[in-house]
């Protein structure tokens, strides 16, 4: 299997601060690879190194087989990029933004015109193509940035928080487009802290924390690996506040209130359901809903980053 991205022992310091701490991973061609982490974990720094914007202090990285340090020109030519909190040029039109970026990527004039027309149509900006970008909403600007990233028909797409702060329609449009592009063979490197988005889109996920890769796996495998975070969610017909009683049930590790429901974390959901029905019968408390839940990716993320935090505290 060819690697779209290969990272070996990458290190980046900002002064004394170690932002990326000897990370290594590979992304296969055709994957949607999620890069998750809390704020300040090193996500954006890693993406900036991979896209040739800044250089690492040590280690190496290859994108589509090109060394990003030595062959940045060739590697960048194959990439489409939506950086975090970037803007198009607001004093020129959407069309001129696309023509400018197309020219910078060496796309021939006729091809970039056709591609621009197609992309503007696809992302719902065609009617406003000759309007100066300063009049665009945040969602429209973000859609335009995505158009810009696709003007050169890239083989790999780097997206840094592409749907952050967008309205539902714009976010959905962008997610659908990412899926479509991936079906056409485009590899996607998605940096995000939107766990649900990563869950929906990604083939595999890396979780980075304090500059280190904490884990890499598919969303499903990550959930499977955290069986202790399975849960049973129950809601009672009458108000019920004595969480302590539920904690004493066999097989229950932890109980949390989630809105009007109570969530009982367990490794043995069947046993807990049996215990809950007995509890309900013997205390004459009726329940209205009872559901079993697998661990959510958010649970996994929180668990991993908390464990990693503990690890860091122990080792520093």
């Amino acid at each position: 299997m060819a690697f779209a991205i290969e990272v070996k022992d990458l290190v980046k310091y900002y002064g004394e601060l170690l932002a990326v701490d000897h990370i290594s991973f590979q992304v296969e061609e055709g994957e949607i690879f999620g890069f998750l982490g809390p704020n300040g974990a090193g996500k954006t720094t890693t993406q900036r190194i991979l896209t040739g914007i800044i250089e690492g202090n040590d280690g190496d990285a290859w994108v589509m087989g090109h060394n990003i340090r030595k062959d940045a020109f060739y590697a960048k030519s194959l990439m489409g990029i939506v950086p975090e909190m970037a803007n198009p040029y607001i004093d020129i039109s959407a069309w001129n933004n696309l023509m400018l970026m197309g020219e910078l990527y060496g796309v021939p004039k006729e091809r970039r015109r056709k591609q621009a027309d197609k992309l503007l149509e696809m992302l719902g900006l065609y009617e406003r193509k000759n309007t100066k970008v300063k009049t665009f909403s945040k969602g429209m600007k973000q859609r335009l940035l995505l158009c810009i990233s696709l003007i050169s028909q890239p083989q790999i797409l780097f997206l840094d928080e592409p749907t952050a702060g967008l309205d539902v329609q714009s976010a959905r449009l962008i997610r659908n487009l990412i899926t479509e592009l991936n079906k056409e063979g485009v590899t996607v490197f998605l940096t995000t802290h939107n766990i649900e988005e990563a869950n929906q889109l990604c083939t595999r996920i890396a979780i980075i924390d304090h500059g280190k890769i904490a884990t890499i796996d598919s969303p499903e495998n990550l959930r499977q690996a955290f069986q202790s975070m399975q849960s049973v969610e129950i809601s009672f017909a009458a108000p019920f506040d004595d969480i302590g009683l539920l904690r004493k049930l066999a097989g229950v590790n932890e109980v949390k209130r989630v809105g009007e429901k109570l969530r009982l974390y367990t490794e043995e959901p069947a046993k807990v359901i049996y215990e809950l029905t007995n509890f309900s019968r013997s205390n004459n408390i009726k329940f209205t809903t009872l559901n079993t839940l697998g661990p959510s990716l958010e649970d996994v993320f929180v668990k991993i980053t908390e464990e990693h935090k503990g690890w860091n505290y122990e080792h520093h």
Binding site: Y14, R48, T51, G52, I53, I54, A72, F73, Y74, K76, S77, M79, I81, P83, M85, A86, N87, P88, Y89, I90, D91, I92, N96, L100, M101, E103, L104, Y105, G106, L145, I148
Partner: protein, 252 residues
């Protein structure tokens, strides 16, 4: 793709950057008006009421216009792009920082030459001045514009995203230069200290070359003037590119 082809492609993209700069930053009425009016008012302030011959004054005015216009917008492009969050997108395109800066320099170079045509045409058509050595005149305009535009890039190296800070620094450096470059007072009439300081101003050599182009006489030899401008150009260009590369991460 070999290195020559890559360099060719990057040069084409530097030209794209230059076109972008001209469209977005230079061709704005305040920039153009300031570029023409500022040297004109300085001219009025120093020439009115004094018996100075046009053939002495105009090379100074043209040099000053070139100096102020070629280095006018370059200093604010990088901080402005950082503030407007367009810089990261630009840096991620397949153009190295050196060629991005070359594009910025090219824009200042072209703008400087175009605006300098105004006092030049004023001298030729209004005052009926004749150019004694036209090729030398053209050479001095080209090399000086490139040099001053590179100075603009060097001035933008502090990693600030506040254009007004950079403009303050830029004016702090540029304004004193016009008073020690033999524009209003010939170098031979400057005090000894003034003559020494004049050696460190690239504008001195531009004005001297332009006077040689107009009159056929100059304070320094043509070779010395050209070599000094090339030396300044090399320093501004190389130092500017090195510092920009070093400060890039701090700017994002």
């Amino acid at each position: 793709m070999n290195t020559t082809e890559r360099v060719k492609q990057e040069l084409r993209r530097a030209w794209t950057i230059a076109k972008k700069d001209i469209r977005i930053y230079y061709f704005k009425s305040p920039v153009i008006i300031f570029g023409i009016i500022f040297p004109f008012f300085l001219f009025l302030a120093f020439a009115l009421g004094r018996n100075i011959s046009p053939v002495f004054l105009f090379p100074g005015i043209i040099g000053m216009t070139l100096f102020f216009t070629a280095s006018s917008v370059g200093p604010i492009i990088m901080p402005w792009e950082a503030r407007m969050r367009t810089l990261e997108r630009l840096l991620s395109s397949p153009v190295s920082i050196q060629f991005i800066l070359l594009g910025d320099i090219l824009a200042g170079f072209i703008f400087g030459i175009i605006i300098s045509l105004v006092p030049f045409l004023f001298a030729i058509l209004g005052f009926r001045l004749a150019v004694h050595n036209f090729p030398l005149f053209i050479l001095s305009i080209l090399i000086s514009s490139f040099c001053f535009s590179s100075l603009g890039i060097l001035l933008s190296t502090p990693p600030s995203d506040n254009p007004s800070n950079i403009m303050m620094l830029s004016n702090l450096v540029r304004l004193p230069i016009i008073f020690v470059s033999g524009i209003f007072i010939p170098i031979e009439r400057l005090p000894h200290a003034g003559k020494i300081v004049a050696n460190f101003s690239p504008l001195t050599y531009t004005v001297d070359l332009l006077r040689c182009g107009f009159e056929g006489v100059s304070q320094y030899s043509v070779i010395r003037n050209v070599l000094m401008l090339v030396l300044f150009l090399a320093i501004f260009l190389l130092l500017g590119m090195k510092l920009h590369k070093r400060n890039l991460a701090k700017r994002l």
